[in-house]
């Protein structure tokens, strides 16, 4: 991609928006301890930090989703209080979240003008809505999207553009974007670059939350680094280097997160073997995991990591290739079949795929047993309290509804549910997403304990430190195919460049 353009001239030393001393707690747990963030007009400002550093919370405070417990927000030097996302939008502060705020059944123009439809003589001026939307799309160089298309028929990238157009039509002065490239392919990332530069040229400030260094150095004028709920430092992009940035982000504490491999853990024979498997989303997947081994699947979001898990687990089964467990070929067509073959899957999205939220801790723990082995699982059920104790679950009781538990405790319930089935292979899809440090630690300990018992683990993660800290081998995916394999301890840069498709190894004709 083209290198960053020099900072625009209209950049003034005064901040468009200044967030000072922001403090925010959840459930008595302080996640932001006085964070400062200043963004100038017409600049692209990166907010970086590891997952859990507090970036998302800062963004949501700026968007008016949360209100800070302490601290102030100044817009053009005037203190503001966004009680509601609408208040933030009216002030020109808009946010493009990862979960889109769009109506799939309505057109692009209807979405762009939702809640602010232009009216002449009492009737909506659809023609104006369509022309205005088309004009904005054209300005962004997006003639390909029609203002009249149904949003549900657009790709993720196109929907993101609709969100940006929506923000622009509201005369946004600042647009924040949460991991905007997470679900985009290379071509689409290029498109987003161009749009961000267009926004900048219009004098819009962009807050760009990302942990992809390349994008940050390509696009952003300034960078603020967050770590453990505090803002560590701000840089002008030309004054820093990727190395320095990573050091600031990561600091020293980080290697201590991960428990070391127990010396008693031995690599056993291959327990999971996938050969040349594929379906409509992934292709040519060859993968082997041995007993006692943790293999990580790395790759950008949308690269096919979760699709491999789903293919393996029979949710969207593989249509090609073969799978063997403990050397025995298996044909898995459903989750039930997968469980019968000795697989377990801790899904990416706990709340929609992992838990029945209105049911008790106990009911969730025994759900798989109830579903698959309705009789004769009494002895296993007796293990539940002990198992939960070893995972350090804190709850009001086994009969507490899991929706009242914190994310970390919910994840422990999901883990317990699968451990009770005595799996041979466990697939962990984003096992520590959205959970606190203590719970992460418990998950990592559990993983080590499982490998000690000879279980094979296939881990999917977006957090590179986690992959580096836990995996024995790292398999990198790019655009639905394997991009290569890396040994334990490979560095983030190598993984990233492979995941973005810039470096390929072995897979000669694999990707374009």
């Amino acid at each position: 991609m083209t290198p960053a353009e020099p900072p625009a001239d209209q950049q003034s030393p005064t901040s468009l928006i200044a967030m000072r001393g922001i403090v925010k707690s959840f459930l008595g747990n302080e996640v932001l301890h006085g964070v400062d963030l200043e963004i100038r007009a017409g600049e692209v400002h990166a907010l970086v930090g590891e997952n859990g550093a507090g970036k998302s919370t800062m963004m949501k405070i700026l968007a008016g989703v949360y209100r800070p417990d302490a601290g102030q927000i100044l817009l053009n030097g005037v203190e503001v209080d966004f009680e509601h996302p609408i208040a933030a939008q009216k002030a020109g502060v808009t946010t493009v979240f990862q979960e889109f705020n769009l109506l799939a059944d309505r057109s692009v123009a209807q979405n762009v003008f939702l809640g602010r439809e232009p009216v002449t003589r009492g009737l909506i001026d659809s023609a104006r809505m369509n022309t205005d939307t088309t004009a904005l799309l054209t300005e962004l160089g997006m003639n390909g999207i029609s203002a009249k298309s149904r949003v549900g028929s657009l790709s993720v990238a196109e929907q993101q553009i609709v969100e940006i157009v929506k923000a622009l039509s509201e005369d946004a002065r600042i647009i924040s974007m949460d991991e905007p490239t997470a679900a985009l392919s290379d071509v689409e990332v290029g498109l987003l670059y161009r749009i961000v530069r267009q926004l900048k040229a219009r004098g819009v400030a962009v807050l760009y939350v990302s942990h992809r260094l390349k994008e940050i150095f390509d696009l952003c004028d300034r960078i603020t680094v967050m770590k453990d709920g505090a803002s560590v430092r701000s840089f002008d992009t030309p004054d820093t280097t990727p190395d320095e940035l990573v050091r600031t982000m990561v600091g020293r504490a980080f290697s201590g997160y991960f428990p070391t491999v127990d010396p008693q853990t031995e690599l056993g024979p291959v327990r999971l073997q996938i050969s040349d498997a594929g379906n409509s989303q992934v292709n040519g997947i060859d993968l082997a995991v041995r007993g006692g081994e943790i293999v990580a699947l790395a790759g950008l979001q949308g690269s096919g990591r979760t699709e491999i898990a789903h293919g393996l687990f029979g949710i969207a089964p593989f249509s090609r290739g073969s799978v063997a467990i403990d050397g025995k070929a298996v044909r898995i067509r459903s989750p039930r079949g997968a469980i019968g073959s000795g697989l377990a899957l801790v899904t990416e999205d706990r709340k929609t795929e992992g838990l029945a939220l209105r049911q008790s801790v106990l009911a969730n723990c025994r759900l798989v047993l109830d579903a698959v082995r309705p009789f004769g699982s009494a002895t296993r059920t007796k293990q539940i309290p002990g198992l939960l104790r070893s995972l350090e679950l804190s709850s009001r009781g086994l009969d507490q509804e899991v929706r009242f538990l914190s994310g970390g405790n919910q994840q422990k319930v999901v883990l317990a549910k699968w451990l009770l089935t005595d799996p041979k292979v466990i697939i962990l899809d984003e096992p520590t997403r959205g959970i606190d440090v203590g719970a992460k630690r418990a998950v990592y300990d559990a993983m080590r304990e499982l490998t000690k018992r000879g279980i094979a683990i296939l881990m999917i993660s977006s957090e590179l430190p986690e992959i580096i800290g836990m995996a024995d081998r790292i398999v990198v995916l790019h655009d639905g195919e394997l991009a290569g394999e890396l040994p334990a301890g490979s560095d983030e840069e190598t993984i990233m460049s492979m995941a973005t498709g810039h470096v390929t190894q072995q897979q000669s004709g694999g990707s374009r």
Binding site: F313, A356, Q359, A363, R366, V368, P374, L388, S394, K417
Partner: protein, 350 residues
């Protein structure tokens, strides 16, 4: 109501009695139980003889069809669906019984077996259309209602069915047949015994593995499926339970009514059943609510009739009061539910 808690050290002690009581009354079971007790108290105060054990058993007898329908509807609602076809099933089954039996005792049990099989078939069809063809259950069972009522009218010519129920058949519905001369209680009818057996079976079923999978499917179908549950079969079975219990309710109701069968016999009962279940605090949309409370809801609904009789209120006003109770009870549950939700996470121990 809750599962026996094995209290490991990581689990905080049970909340104190007062809080639990408070929670109970905020729950559906608490509301409906209080309502039932109040209604019964008013009835008995204004007419002490209504409180006699044998009279109460007789009341229970009359309430059995609604109780059975409520149990069946509970299984469907807990899995997140509706069954609007139960009233039509009752009509159809009663018409079949009257037409096929034509007052002859022999063949009664064959006809009953046939009716149960037909009930199963209707349940399977309802469930399969909902679970496999993804047609909303509201529409599916509404259409099933049209089809059954239409077909029954077509077959019998409408109005009062030609033919009549046999005496043997009617034994299951009439209050005087059953275990006679029980001390204090008088005759315990076959209908009451059937209800007790079914209630116990239903309670066992809902507390079994299947029951937990059923409730979890209603709560989160995707998560249940990912946990290996056969979510399609589970939903079909729920509709089967509902249709079969509607059939049994039809046998009792038709037998108790008269030896002839009027095709209006089942009309509106589907709404009564849903009302009963919802009155018991069971969440429309699935995943939460107790079977016991649904039965209490059915009893409450039944006793509104006697209440009006005792107080000398025009029975025409009954629907209005029923409507108000329904709305107020559900609004109250929605309010207390949201209060708990707002407070809930804050109280979780870190």
């Amino acid at each position: 109501m809750s599962t026996p808690v094995i209290t490991p050290d990581l689990v905080a002690a049970k909340p104190e009695f007062g809080r639990r009581l408070q929670r109970f009354f905020a729950s559906g079971t608490g509301i409906v139980l209080a309502l039932l007790i109040i209604i019964l108290a008013i009835i008995i105060i204004s007419n002490p003889s209504a409180g006699a054990p044998d009279t109460l058993v007789n009341s229970l007898h009359k309430a059995t069809p609604l109780l059975l329908l409520a149990i069946g509807q509970y299984f469907v609602i807990i899995v997140g669906e509706f069954d609007l076809s139960v009233g039509a099933i009752i009509t159809t089954q009663a018409a079949i019984a009257a037409t096929l039996l034509n007052k002859q005792d022999e063949g009664t049990y064959g006809v009953i077996a046939l009716m149960l099989v037909l009930g199963l078939v209707v349940g399977v069809v309802n469930g399969a259309i909902v679970a496999l063809l993804k047609v909303p259950s509201f529409i599916t069972t509404l259409a099933m209602m049209l089809i059954l009522i239409g077909a029954t009218n077509l077959w019998t010519g409408g109005g009062i069915v030609k033919g009549a129920l046999s005496d043997e058949f009617r034994k299951f519905g009439r209050p005087k047949f059953g275990i006679e001369n029980v001390p204090f209680l008088g005759t315990i009818s076959w209908a009451v015994l059937i209800f007790i057996v079914i209630a116990v079976l239903a309670a066992l079923l809902i507390r079994s593995s299947f029951g937990r999978v059923l409730v979890a499917t209603g709560d989160n179908t995707k998560a249940a499926g990912f946990a290996g549950a056969r979510v399609t079969s589970v939903r079909i079975i729920a509709f089967m339970v509902s249709a079969v219990l509607a059939t049994i309710a039809g046998i009792i109701l038709a037998g108790n009514t008269s030896s002839t069968v009027d095709l209006s016999i089942g009309s509106g009962l589907e709404f009564e059943a849903i009302t009963a279940v919802v009155l018991g605090g069971v969440l429309l949309g699935g995943g939460k609510g107790s079977l016991f409370a649904a039965m209490l809801g059915a009893l409450t609904l039944y006793f509104i009739g006697p209440l009006f009789r005792e107080l000398g209120i025009s029975p025409e006003l009954r629907p209005s009061v029923q409507g108000i109770i329904l709305i107020v009870a559900v609004a109250y549950a929605a309010r207390s539910g949201s209060l708990r939700r707002r407070k809930g996470p804050g109280k979780t121990q870190p």
